[in-house]
Symmetry: C2
Subunit: 337 residues, 2 copies
DNA sequence: TACGTTTCCGAAAACCTTTAAGTCCAGGAG
DNA sequence: CTCCTGGACTTAAAGGTTTTCGGAAACGTA
């Protein structure tokens, strides 16, 4: 820990110029002779001067800092968004002030005040699910974009993954493999994600003129439920040849139970998961074909649109971003794996 | 987005007092009549005034903000530390400025400068492994504490999990269950974590006067390696009755391969993992007995000691924090599960 | 020499808050 | 009545930077 930090004043006097000239030299503005600039820069390096962002922000009204308000304590969705946001910001020297409300509205208000008093230039709100969440933007002095969980106010800017389209894509993949007895196991219906994915599932089947194998089984987002559902489904629909699972956890459990029942994946039953949570999707055997929601892209996009909004170019509405089907062994055509 | 924000000036003139009085009233200081304070508070509420943290910080030299510099892009270790730190800070209204260097030294320098120029009060550096990392604190104007990955400079303040002790604890647990043919499968030896855990493993065996079953198998931190190692170990040491794995991923793979070989877990072979990575440890069957490194506690502790260091009460050295053995089904005594 | 133009630099205001120091007044003590 | 005390409030400075505007020097032209 060194002593006091150097200010532009110290730099100026060391270089033998006024602070105005020093400021101009450091910021690369005109009106300063090359030799003088040289001296100032040398002085700044000598003192390892770093401009005080507080003073600068106080004057300009811009802190080059954004707040990221998340609700999922575990970071399953917040982290990729954060990374993507950092990517988008990185070039522009933006910093991210991170707050985790842990699903508590009071804590959220608290954090919101703290961020606002620190004069962030904008806010990214990350939901813990794709369920619409209460808007936070009512007469806030800074722009806000919502990522993953959209705002319930359509005049806000929200970015969500295209769950419906992704589910349809997954099912089309199964259909293309020749599977015709396709089941669906997913999470709780109070999750919009579960409902959307089921909608996509049905849409793809309907368009292909294929009947669903059995009923949709809704449980929780766990491996345990995946195993349980597999047993139920295999009992009810023995001739099933594929299943679309609402999450990788469910898919992992499903695969495990299927194998224990003596059926092979993918030869007898092809399985598609959702999330591309790598610890599950690449490490289970066989590796899971799954939907990747491109959360980093989503985060980056949200950050870019936040920039635009800060510049006064907001793009209101709920924007759905395409997902991607990552094809792995759990849906290999027979004979290939 | 509303218009310009209210300043204390607006509050003062609305309340009909000077800004000094307004400041005193808002900050709960003496020298102001109750009725006057009332008026000021009402005016502040009316304008929804929020003090400008930049101006305040400029004056006081304290931003009530700390930087968290992490290197593990995936967030496996950074997140719990962040949560713990937020917990410790929460009460005191601290905010966390998060930067991810992604293992790139240049990017780290870059972020460091950005944080310093924003005048953070302190810094927490989170390593991506427990390997000592280059110190970043050389003549920095703010205190730094290292979490998970210690600094290579012993005069810095570092907090690391007690891998040696935890491994010994895990092995003692297996010994207490009556197991005597215990193997060890772990990650790459260039990880200090792998070496420390092996050391604890050996220490516990030596103290008990028990021989290790087979050689320590070092591979990578993956499920795939766990499966592979299980096959090798079962081949070389068929009468093995327990194994201590260097990570939950390895343990999950090990369990899977053991079951496929027709041996039962825990009845024939007890398995202990490491990390308590819940998606693996609680969801695999049987649920894994594993070491929890208490990373949230570690983060909280680091944050608290950062506070102390900010107040000038630094506690130099590498501090090891105890881990915790979470006992689940993979080490149940025979007949219990 | 007088004057206009260009180039470079400096003085000062502004951003918003806190706080030390100062002003004013009422009331109590001598 | 005068002096002092203390309470309630205001003035002004400070914190570090950017920016506007004015000033000075150098140079060319009439």
């Amino acid at each position: 820990m060194a002593g006091k930090r150097a200010t532009i004043n110290d730099v100026a006097s060391l270089a033998g110029v006024s602070i105005a000239t020093a400021s101009k030299a450091l910021n690369g503005r005109q009106d300063v002779r090359a030799a003088t600039r040289e001296r100032v820069l040398a002085a700044a390096a000598e003192l390892s001067f770093q401009p005080n962002a507080l003073a600068r922000g106080l004057l300009s009204g811009q802190t080059r800092t954004v707040g990221l308000l998340t609700s999922d304590s575990v970071g399953r969705f917040g982290i990729p968004v954060l990374l993507g946001a950092e990517d988008a910001f990185g070039a522009g020297e933006m910093a991210v002030l991170l707050c985790d409300a842990r699903g508590d509205a009071i804590r959220e208000q608290h954090h919101l005040r703290a961020l606002l008093s620190r004069r962030v230039d904008g806010l990214i709100v990350v939901g813990e699910s794709t369920n619409p969440r209460p808007s936070v933007s009512k007469d806030l002095p800074v722009p806000v974009v919502y990522a993953y969980g959209p705002s319930d106010d359509p005049s806000d800017v929200s970015f969500v993954p295209d769950d419906v389209g992704a589910a349809a894509m997954a099912v089309n993949h199964l259909l293309a493999l020749g599977r015709r007895r396709i089941g669906h196991v997913t999470g709780p219906t109070h999750y919009k994600a579960a409902r959307d994915r089921e909608e996509g599932f049905h849409r793809a089947l309907t368009e292909a003129g294929v009947e669903q194998a059995g009923q949709t089984l809704s449980g929780v987002w766990s491996q345990r439920w995946g195993r349980h559902a597999a047993e139920m489904l295999l009992m009810a629909e023995p001739e099933i040849d594929a299943v679309f699972c609402g999450s990788d956890q469910i898919a992992a459990g499903f695969v495990e139970a299927v194998r224990e029942r003596g059926r092979r994946v993918p030869d007898d039953i092809a399985v598609v998961g959702y999330d591309n949570w790598e610890v599950l999707s690449t490490e289970t055997r066989p590796a899971l074909t799954t939907v990747d929601m491109n959360l980093e892209v989503l985060g980056r996009t949200a950050a870019q649109h936040l920039f635009a909004a800060i510049d006064g170019k907001a793009t209101p509405g709920v924007h759905t971003l395409p997902c991607q089907l990552v094809i792995r062994d759990s849906t290999s055509p027979p004979g290939v794996s």
